[in-house]
Amino acid sequence: MSANILNFFIFPGGLFAVFFGLILISIERIMVARFQGRVGPVFYQNVIDIVKLFNKETLIPKDAKDFVFKFAPLFGFSGMLVLVYFLPVPGVYEGAKGDYDLVILIYFMALPAISHILGGGASSSPYAAISVSRELKLMLVYEFVFIVIGFTLAIYVGHGNGEFSLKKIMDYQMQNGYFLFDWKLWPAFIAFLIFVLATLEVPPFEVAHHNHADIMEGYLIEYSGAPLALFEITDALKIVVLSVVFQIFFFPNVIGGDVVVNLLWFIVKTMFLVVFISLAHACLASFRADQEFKFLIKVPVMLSLTSLVLVILSIKGLI
């Protein structure tokens, strides 16, 4: 029992994940700066930001729905916190060992977006309202992509029956080769990368948030102080969760049995994802909202469905 509490609060959930995620976001900022020829902030910049935001005054708008406005950030934050505890980290941590944790993952993955929608909706700002309507539309598409990818893997691992245990998905890859090198799942892999960019809302999918020319800060516009800090921590946890999910789904490689070595290897693999995200951030312009919706509903949905069809055909023995 005490080991569970330790796993939840210290490692790999809780403190470790929060600090690791914040440093990842700072490193992403540094990478973007370096790609643009700038120096960029220090590697612990976002940790300082969080400390500062907790020290600032918290303003609540007069017309806001007070309760929802204050507690909406907690919704996404707690979801991501639970998810970091729940997911197995390849070679480092066993996870909660559920038989249906893929389903739980799909549920919890939507929580940050829902907390954005609740918080933005309660904040009584027209900018937040526009941003919420965009986020809602986009969420419906990219969550669908994520569900199809998860479903594809579940069918592939279970040979026709759904196998919703992340542990078994990892074990299957250990024995039969990683999905990253399986051509049938390459479309799903590309769709997953697009999903990562869309759910983190980095360019080219920056329509609901941080889009200063268009809707200012979007759903965060009325937030300040501690709730804003919670939203930033949620983003940090989300990047960690996405990295873990990426590794479980496509590349659960481990080196030997040593936890420390595997943790370092996990961090190296995470860095590759961060470099990819910052590369997209630095060199792509942002879509308009309608362009993004059309792109998401065409490209990643089609790619993930292609993978699903290929996997079903291979199970039937046709390819």
């Binding site: 900022r29 960029g40 400390v51 800060e217």
Partner: protein, 142 residues
């Protein structure tokens, strides 16, 4: 406590400026040569996130209510920086019927960065000075 002064969020408002200072501000943050992000700065889209307010323009009658609204929305402690000659003294627009400046009629200005437009180095120096003042204000609040 001094570490948190390395994370200033900037918000800029144009109160009828000719865009000269705005271009300087945007380039200060963005282009490779003058990088304010190395001071930990980040431009935000909302005054409620901001620690340092950068004001450009001579405060026209049309823009005055928005400026006052922004000043209301800033969470304490904050620092106000007047960028360019216009918010400092209204410059050549002084005594015009359409001008309600200068900025220090409405709020205590902490740093004036004169120039038409000021050089990027001057703006970065102004932001660095504003950080010192911000540190002092945080200390005073404790």
């Amino acid at each position: 406590m001094s570490i948190i002064t390395r994370s200033p969020f900037l918000f800029r408002i144009n109160t009828g400026s000719c865009n000269g200072c705005d271009v300087e501000l945007a380039t200060t943050a963005m282009i490779p040569r003058y990088d304010v992000e190395r001071l930990g700065c980040r431009y935000t889209g909302s005054p409620k996130h901001a620690d340092i307010l950068l004001v450009t323009g001579p405060i026209t009658a049309r823009s005055k209510p928005y400026l006052l609204e922004v000043l209301d929305e800033l969470p304490r402690p904050f620092v106000v920086v007047a960028v360019g000659t216009c918010p400092t003294s209204c410059g050549i627009f002084r005594d015009s019927y359409a001008i309600e400046g200068p900025l220090d009629k409405y709020i205590q200005v902490d740093v004036n960065v004169p120039g038409c437009p000021p050089r990027p180095q001057a703006i970065i120096d102004g932001v660095a000075k504003a950080l010192e003042i911000w540190k002092q204000k945080i200390r005073d609040m404790k």
